[in-house]
């Protein structure tokens, strides 16, 4: 059991960080090139060279590509009309069509985003090349109504702070660590006390002079310590395997974990008090944890949730932890920066444990 508890955070960190990934790669692309000009070929080549797309089909028939998409063999269709190059040179304007399979909205959205970037790059390159050759006005393509920039216009450069390469793992691992600790501790606590009730040992304990606070402390302290061990193991795994940045103070991370864990302990204990069987406790904990995890900001930003959901999230302990982990590990926030978060969690811990102690009764 103990071994399992130490392996679990490591395994989950690896699995979730690699697999639960928003980067979409190897999108299946169908190219319908009606132009067959150097320009059209250059555009198609740019797609396949990007790494995001894999040309699965090259055809001259739109129907054929549509059919491939209907059969789910192709995610995106790039259709280049005839006279693409000619229009681009002469009229400074040409159109290409991009069709995405939106059965998977995330994939379609991201694919379209990548595609537009590629087309924009193509624009710039093509214009530069053309200008170098002739001293005429720059051509520009536009796709989907967007106007391409002439080389002389202002270009936007951007950089991603705190995660310069927009590395998905850097972003996920700290959050996942928080989530795992919360998950395991919440479950273990909820199952622990109801288990004693199920096998009857609680009956034997209740007739002893052991006091309520002694019993509860005895139950929760081991899990509290365990959470700190799990955090250590998880952080080590994150550092060794993903080289996640640890800009902030690690002492702060442990102080926070030590304050946060009681939230989950109290939460689990509270549910355990109202459960008659381990099955019931599992079901109840799972119900809440699923909501907590999906709404904690690990997968979708809390800020983009509807207002009522954000209010509801005040009660979501994991949300605080995920936010904290990212702020401290990636951004190097110090205690002053996370003060509000810290005291929210502290209040939460006190409140939920108060409830748990109040609801635990040694006698009926």
């Amino acid at each position: 059991m103990l071994v399992l508890l130490l392996i679990m955070p490591v395994l989950q960190t690896i699995l979730l960080s690699y697999a639960a990934n928003y980067e979409v790669k190897n999108l299946a692309l169908a190219v319908v090139d009606h132009d067959l000009s150097p320009a059209s070929r250059q555009l198609a080549a740019k797609f396949s060279a990007s790494g995001y797309f894999k040309v699965k089909q090259t055809t001259f028939a739109t129907k054929e590509a549509d059919h491939a998409m209907a059969n789910d063999r192709v995610d995106i269709i790039l259709e280049i009309p005839a006279h693409f190059e000619r229009d681009l040179v002469r009229e400074n304007h040409a159109t290409v069509s991009l069709v995405a399979n939106a059965i998977n909205a995330t994939k379609a959205g991201l694919g379209m985003g990548y595609a537009q970037n590629i087309v924009r790059d193509f624009n710039i390159e093509f214009a530069e090349k053309w200008m170098a050759r002739t001293v005429s006005t720059a051509p520009a393509t536009a796709e989907g109504g967007g106007y391409a920039t002439a080389p002389s216009t202002v270009q936007i450069t951007y950089s991603n702070w705190y995660n310069p390469k927009l590395d998905y793992k850097t972003f996920m691992v700290p959050g996942i660590l928080g989530e795992i600790v919360a998950l395991i501790i919440g479950f273990l606590t909820a199952l622990n006390i109801v288990r004693e009730r199920e096998i009857g040992t609680i009956e034997q304990l209740n007739v002893t002079p052991v006091q309520k606070w002694q019993f509860i402390l005895g139950k929760l302290l081991p899990f509290w310590l365990l959470s700190l061990v799990m955090m250590t193991v998880g952080l080590a795994a994150g550092k060794l395997m993903f080289d996640i940045p640890m800009v902030g103070n690690l002492g702060l991370v442990f102080l926070y974990t030590a304050t946060f864990t009681p939230c989950m302990l109290g939460f689990g204990f509270f549910i355990s008090n109202f459960s008659d069987s381990q099955q019931q406790a599992t079901f109840t904990v799972w119900f809440f944890l699923l909501i907590f995890i999906l709404m904690c900001g690990l997968f979708t930003p809390v800020e983009s949730m509807p207002q009522w959901a954000q209010w509801l999230n005040v009660l979501n302990p994991i949300q605080y932890f995920v936010e904290f982990m990212r702020l401290v590990l990636l951004k190097g926030a110090d205690f002053q920066d996370i003060k509000t978060n810290y005291f929210s969690v502290l209040t939460y811990a006190i409140a939920v444990n108060g409830l748990a102690v109040w609801s635990y009764k040694k006698r009926a």
Partner: protein
């Protein structure tokens, strides 16, 4: 401070079901007192109230002079409780369990070894074995050791006979008598009528009420009607036939025999020979008939009918 148990008009309901109704009970110091009754009679509820695990709806009770509601903290150190279900830590060893319960009561194995020695000595060779891997009889000895480790004045045993082989059961009762002789008051509940005869006094419980309190001998002495035991190859038919026997008050299965109870009036004159003749006339084979001594079970069945 006496080791008595006193209960006055105790009642407890679970929703609409009244588990025990106006129970009055008085258990003397240093006796083995049996609560006898079928499942659902309210034995466990009464136990849980007396061990301070359950609050009564009305009425009051004292154990060893301590009120079960007000003085529950002191009470818990004065009593030993062995629940019906084995409820020690299965994943701890024998010794660890005992050590744990000793430390919970602020004592140690060595301090109270004398009291548990006769019992614990039998399982000590297995002290490194996990409690979950013990046999039923050994589990029971361990549970009893754990319940005794803090030298309680009153011992509560909830259905200790369940799930234990006859030999272990006999040993167990020997131990109880031994403890009683050391001055412990023991309240034991059981659905087994044969265990009733091993108690000093018993209370017969049914549907949350106590029907009779007496010594086992006193209870059986109250049984006035003639009683016979009979058997043949076809027991089912035998019971059906005997119910039609002249003067029969009742006939029920009793172990491998059927017990036939006769009315004091009409049936008083009937003899073993009369019954045998009656059964032969009904074509029963291998008939055996004898007069029987009433047991607590016979009395219980009698009381249940009223």
């Amino acid at each position: 401070m006496s080791n008595k148990i006193e209960a006055k008009i105790l009642s407890k309901s679970y929703g609409k079901v009244q588990a025990i109704k106006n129970i009055n009970l008085s258990v003397n110091e240093g006796e083995i007192f049996g609560l006898i009754g079928p499942d659902g009679a309210g034995k466990t509820t009464l136990f849980r109230i007396l061990t301070s695990l359950l609050l009564p709806d009305s009425g009051s009770a004292t154990v060893a002079g301590l009120d079960v509601v007000k003085d529950y903290k002191q009470l818990r150190t004065a009593i030993g409780y062995m629940p019906g279900r084995f409820s020690l830590y299965q994943d701890l060893t024998v010794e660890e369990n005992l050590e744990f319960f000793a430390s919970v009561f602020g004592t140690s194995i060595r301090e109270n070894y004398d009291l548990i020695a006769p019992i614990y000595a039998q399982i000590e060779p297995f002290k490194d074995r996990r409690a979950g891997a013990l046999s039923g009889g050994m589990k029971q000895k361990l549970a009893l050791s754990c319940a005794l480790i803090h030298k309680p004045k009153v011992l509560f045993l909830d259905e200790p006979g369940t799930g234990v082989d006859p030999v272990s059961r006999k040993e167990f009762w020997d131990m109880l008598r031994n403890l009683r002789d050391q001055g412990l008051t023991i309240l034991v509940s059981t659905p087994y009528m044969d265990e009733a005869e091993l108690c000093d006094r018993v209370a017969l419980m049914q549907n949350g009420e106590i029907m009779a309190v007496d010594t086992p001998q006193g209870i059986t002495a109250g049984f006035q009607q003639p009683l016979f035991a009979a058997r043949s190859d076809n027991m089912y038919q035998l019971i059906k036939d005997l119910r039609a026997f002249e003067g029969a008050a009742d006939c029920y299965a009793f172990g491998e025999y059927a017990h036939l109870k006769l009315n004091t009036g009409v049936g008083a004159g009937q003899t073993v020979a009369d019954i045998r003749k009656f059964l032969d006339s009904r074509n029963h084979r291998n008939v055996e008939v004898k007069s029987a001594k009433p047991t607590v079970e016979d009395c219980f069945i009698e009381l249940m009918k009223n």
